[in-house]
């Protein structure tokens, strides 16, 4: 089990109703965690739509999660 700090922005935050949560999971990778949270919050995104930041840097969704990581799932950006 890994305990993580998850932060939600924009459309994802609207599905959770809060910006941050501390979550303990059995999932080993960011990708697996994405599917766990998609089931929980009914996210309207495919796996290929989403990028992940771990400790404030983009990482592969196959990255193994470590205790205390800060995780942010990033839906398609729309800046500029």
């Amino acid at each position: 089990m890994t305990t993580l700090q998850i932060t939600y922005f924009a459309a994802l935050r609207d599905t959770t109703g809060y910006a941050e949560e501390t979550l303990t999971t059995e999932m080993a990778t960011a990708k697996a965690l994405f599917h766990e949270l998609t089931a929980k919050y009914h996210w309207p995104f495919a796996e290929t739509d989403i990028q992940v930041a771990i400790n404030d840097r983009y990482q592969s969704t196959d990255t193994l999660l470590k205790e205390g990581d800060r995780i942010v799932f990033i839906p398609p950006v729309a800046g500029g």
Binding site: D56, P75, V77, A78
Partner: protein, 151 residues
């Protein structure tokens, strides 16, 4: 600062400090449009993931300074609530020769749209608001903004 986020009007942050070899300066201003994809926009909101947005923005500008023959480059992106006509993003490149300044500025705006974690919520005059999904905004001729979901 090479890349900034601000919740204040960008106009107040634009200064022109100039390298003495500067011959050409190309700026790009992205403005809030009154109409987007045939819908009447009343205002919009930009939300950034600041720690990563600043890192990615800084990386873009640093790479441009290495890869293009330019003297300076800067970008500022607005966050928070914006009205029609407000500047959402401001970019400038200064170069000895103009061709490189045009290329660098266009590269920066495309890169920002691709990789800087900033999201846009459009508010429409009929009261609806959506987070805009804009997968191909960097390739704007094929661009279709898709609704994520109404809120």
């Amino acid at each position: 600062m090479l890349f900034q986020l601000t919740n204040q009007p960008i106009e107040t942050l634009i200064s022109s400090s100039l390298h003495p070899h500067t011959g050409g300066i190309v700026t790009f201003e992205g403005r809030v449009r009154a109409i987007n994809d045939d819908r009447e926009v009343s205002s919009l909101e930009y939300e950034a993931y600041p720690e990563l947005a600043l890192h990615e923005g800084h990386t873009i500008i640093s790479e441009v300074l290495e890869q293009f023959d330019i003297l300076e480059a800067r970008a500022i992106h607005r966050t928070g609530h914006l009205a029609i006509g407000d500047i959402a993003v401001w970019i400038m490149s200064a170069a000895v020769h103009r061709k490189e300044a045009f290329a660098a500025t266009e590269y920066i705006i495309n890169a920002i749209k691709t990789s800087v974690p900033i999201w846009k919520k459009e508010h429409y005059s009929n009261g609806e608001a959506i987070w805009v999904r804009c997968d191909r905004c960097a390739d704007e001729h094929n661009h279709t903004a898709k609704e994520v979901f109404s809120l």
